[in-house]
Subunit: 319 residues, 2 copies
């Protein structure tokens, strides 16, 4: 029997904080762990290939992330951006000088013919990250957001350009139907002692990973070891538009609303203490409900959350 | 009759210094002037479109150039490059933080569908450059350098990667035969009161401009107003490999060797005072020989050189 291995289905900032906690809690054991990261927010700007969720996860695990924002680099400088402004260039998505290096590297390696999984391995090795960071797919998948009264826009246009301050009536993942999971993703899920669905936006962070044919099915098959963490606390998203997006798309913006979305493939949901009263609703949907502190204000809280989450499975006697 | 208009056929650093002198000497009159700039050194790195000669000319005319090197930006910083090194990325061609902005801008506008001439107009307008900077062509033309005992390498690999410290037995301009002059180039040459061939490398800076079908012919037709400035002074190139390249390719590395290369389309050659003794050789080749100080140690010397150069034609009673 192989050593225990935790697989986390991950979006950006919330997932990154969880993964940092997991790495802290597991120490050397995390070497075999895998984060399967959303790539449907990826986009091209100035010809550069930008993968916001992969970058946020990598910067966070490397201890390089900007602690104020939860994304981008700490101690960042903006020389290039300021010059770009003088030239009348696009600056709506600000790329810091340090951050730019990562996009240049990825773009050059893509031009060299390397795949995104290989490039991500190279980057995480350079950054001394021991966990395995894997893109959900190497195929182009793009989240398209349909804005009420306007029509479809790209995810970054919605998220950064409009600061997600518009009403949404549909979301789709262009290219997902033809995508295949990146090498190793299905095997990692199959071999995992526990699969965690990170506290990320269920619609636009976890949704596009589930939309890649084979991944949702693999999770469903391992339902008994799949634990999700609710990104909704007291009815609100801690960050980003998950709450209003859930409501606008006809779901409940509550922990039990998340349980409903995940019930098919998750056997447990970790919810915040403020949502303890929803435990019976969640259990009625067929999920074990674990109540704990989910607001990852520092790495110790995140590590405790990670421990509680994976113990949900190991306490069942599985590992 | 239109106001006088000077067209300069330009490479990088030497041409840029001349153009800055021309702009200083002509002041407002330079608004109608045109620099037709070599693009055969252009290349792609990290997915970015880099045009070294256009950039050197633009930075120099905008007063932004690094005065030590003659290319790149003054007061440059290297944050991105240093991070790229940490990632194990390509740093053989160093892109400074300020310089990067220009490449990001050009790459984005190329992706938007804009042509290089239009993009160059946008950049020079942002930098408050009044002279018209025009790429010789918008088509892809690439200088390929054949290294003795090794075969063909790209221009940047030769120039930067090998620091032009290898013997060359041939040079060709891939794509030139199918290229067309950029919009306005032939008209500018046709309408010019004086066409200057800048003191740039005759083989790899002026050569690829001449290789674009129509340009050499247009110059030949206007031979009576075409004046070249020798980039060879006392048998040596002031910068770069022009001297050894001329010798290796079977030409003479002297001012009169340059006269021989240009005799078909230039009616005068400006040479440095140290080469005064070559005047009779140059005149025997059918070119008027003007002797003056051609070492542009500051903008005043460059302005005086520009004035002397264009007066070669106006003194004939042409303008």
């Amino acid at each position: 029997m192989p050593a225990s291995s935790i697989v986390t289905i991950a979006g950006g900032v919330g997932a990154a904080k969880f993964l940092r906690g997991l790495a802290a809690a597991r120490a050397d054991a995390a070497r075999g762990d895998v984060a399967v990261v959303n790539v449907a927010d990826d986009f091209s700007l100035h010809g550069l290939r930008i993968c916001p969720d992969l970058d946020t996860v990598s910067y966070t695990l490397a201890g390089l992330v900007n602690p104020q924002t939860g994304w981008g680099r700490a101690d960042e400088t903006w020389t290039t951006r300021n010059e770009l402004e003088r030239l009348g260039g696009q600056t709506w998505f600000g790329l810091g000088d340090k951050d730019l290096a990562l996009h240049l590297y990825r773009t050059q390696r893509t031009a060299d013919g390397a795949g995104l999984a290989q490039i991500t391995r190279e980057i995480t090795a350079s950054l001394d990250i021991t966990m395995n960071i894997v893109p959900a797919t190497e195929a182009p998948v793009e989240t398209k957001v349909s804005v009420v009264g306007e029509g479809e826009i790209s995810f970054q246009e919605y998220f950064v350009g409009r600061r997600h301050d518009v009403a949404v009536d549909a979301v789709r993942f262009s290219g997902a139907a033809d995508a295949r999971p990146a090498p190793g993703v299905l095997e990692a899920i199959g071999d995992a002692t526990c699969v965690v669905v990170a506290p990320s936006n269920p619609i636009v962070s976890i949704g596009p990973v589930l939309a890649i044919p084979g991944i949702r099915e693999a999770l469903t098959e391992r339902r008994d070891v799949v634990v999700a963490i609710s990104p909704i606390v007291g009815g609100k998203a801690l960050k980003g538009p998950a709450d209003r997006m859930l409501t606008e798309l006809g779901h409940e913006s509550t922990a039990s609303g998340v349980a409903e979305l995940y019930a098919e493939f998750a056997s447990a949901l970790v919810v915040d203490t403020v949502d303890a009263s929803q435990a019976s609703d969640i259990e009625r949907l067929g999920l074990e409900c674990i109540v704990t502190d989910t607001i990852m204000s520092d790495v110790d809280v995140a590590a405790a959350l990670a421990t509680t989450t994976i113990e949900t499975i190991s306490n069942r006697g599985g590992a």
